[in-house]
């Protein structure tokens, strides 16, 4: 039971780290960004490629997280920025194209075989008679720390207030003489770096393979909608809630875990239909 809860929290932490950027892009710009899945995957691959060279795990994590920033910048500048005000389906098609192109580049470089990574900490501790991997607990702690940082940024900085205002009504923000574009770009880049961090943290739990981002993006999509579009606190709650749902249902019957997530997504849509 304890290990099921711990795994649920770990999954929740990963889902949160990935979803937060996705949620902000969705909430501020009304863009469903499939390229987010690509960034997540690239994060995993950069970790795989740099770890043997650097040798020090935290440094490789940092390299992967920061390494995607130029890629995110290019995607924002040449794709995302042209999608402002376009219909949601067009944003899906355009960013999905970026995802597919990137996927082929990854396959070209590393092939499509899954690459195994080992647990970077490889220690366990005993909690109430259950043995738990330290690494998974570290993931939960990182997710919580990020949530607190994001909350402090939004609540206490002036830029954070402008982002909140932009989530509510970006036309009014422009009407106050503020170039919202600059803030949205900043949010997009930070969100992308976090997606890469999510891929990095997830890699040792699963395997690094070209499609790792796709499956997780669908889950992330569910998190963002269940949590409420552009609602960063809702995203936090939904990520841990759905992580727990996956862990618990997966315990009884593996294949049911994702189905349960999408069943909850469907119920959530019935209760709160979204209009974009």
């Amino acid at each position: 039971m304890i290990s099921v809860i711990a795994y649920g929290l770990t999954l929740g932490g990963i889902l949160y780290i990935i979803s937060i950027g996705f949620s902000f892009t969705f909430g501020t710009m009304k863009i469903v960004n499939y390229a987010h899945a690509l960034i997540f995957t690239i994060g995993g691959y950069i970790l795989y490629a740099t770890l043997p060279r650097i040798g020090f795990y935290p440094a490789a994590v940092l390299a992967a997280t920061l390494g995607v920033i130029p890629i995110a910048f290019i995607i924002e500048r040449f794709v995302i920025r042209n999608l402002y005000g376009e219909s949601v389906d067009l944003t899906i098609i355009a960013t999905y194209a970026v995802f597919l192109i990137g996927l082929d580049v990854l396959k070209w470089i590393w092939g499509s075989n899954p690459l195994q990574m080992s647990d970077p900490i490889n220690k366990t501790f005993t909690f109430l008679g259950t043995e738990l991997p330290v690494y998974r607990m570290a993931v939960i702690v990182i997710a919580l720390a990020l949530a607190i940082l994001i909350e402090i940024f939004l609540q206490r900085s002036m830029a954070g207030k402008i982002v909140i205002a932009g989530l509510e009504d970006k036309e009014t923000v422009r009407g106050l003489g503020i170039s919202v574009q600059r803030y949205f770009t900043m949010v997009f880049i930070i969100g992308s770096a976090l997606a890469a961090l999510g891929g990095v943290l997830y890699a040792p739990i699963t395997v690094v393979e070209p499609y790792m981002g796709f499956q997780i993006l669908m889950l992330s999509f569910a998190v963002v909608i269940v949590g409420g579009l552009g609602n960063w606190r809702g995203t936090f709650v939904a990520a841990f809630f759905l992580g727990m749902v996956m862990s618990v249902t997966g315990r009884w019957w593996g294949p049911a875990s994702e189905v349960a997530v999408f069943a909850i997504l469907a119920v959530s849509l019935l209760i709160h239909p979204i209009d974009i």
């Binding site: 002036m158 207030k161 205002a165 009014t172 003489g177 503020i178």
Partner: protein, 254 residues
Amino acid sequence: MPSQPILETRDLSIAFGEYKAVDKVDFLINTGDCAGIIGPNGAGKSTFFNMLTGMYTPTAGAVFYQGVNITRLPVEKRVALGMVRTFQLVSVFDSLTVLQNMIPPVDRFRRQYANKRLFYFGEAESPEVVECCRTWLAKVGIEKRGREMTANLSYGEKRKLEIAMALSLEPKILLLDEPLAGLSDVEIKDVLGLIGGLRGKFTILLIEHKISQIQNLVRRLSVMHEGRMIAQGEPLEIIHDREIRRIYWGAGAE
């Protein structure tokens, strides 16, 4: 130089498909003036406003601000030049407190605040910023409600907050889109008093659909009807013009 034009349109037009929402409007307002545009609902007043402020791009004609053609200048750059507007549906941020609503507009003063620490996250709560926000709230008389969530304000208070946000941008010309719409009689008196007190400080242009509300406030009145500017002049002149009375009251606006 009070006779210098601050804002001018020539042949300004916009069409949505076949429908000409605004059709060849020539309009001029001088620096320091207080002018109103009236007209029934659907006359094209707000659409005209949206072209002045940059939310819509005209299909023909041009907008000049202090003699410079700004027809295609983005909204935020016009604000930087001193053109500030409020909206018909009051536009404030419900998800922030009243005080925090002032933060986006006063953000451009950020460099003046003493704090130069990199990645300093507490600036939104620093005494300088709070004081600056409170000063602007005091100008419209809602500083006591600063800590409340904006969603809890009455519609009239939200309108005042919106005006405070506009004032903090230090406009040269303030464009008010139906500032009295949706307000109670008491609130109307309040907001009219507020706007009246701003006259002479900078140029004011406002839209209204009831003449009676603003005839004592403005010095010049223009009448819009079916996308055209059909008359411009002093308020009394306009009110007593037989042709305008026929079109305007005939259209059932009041």
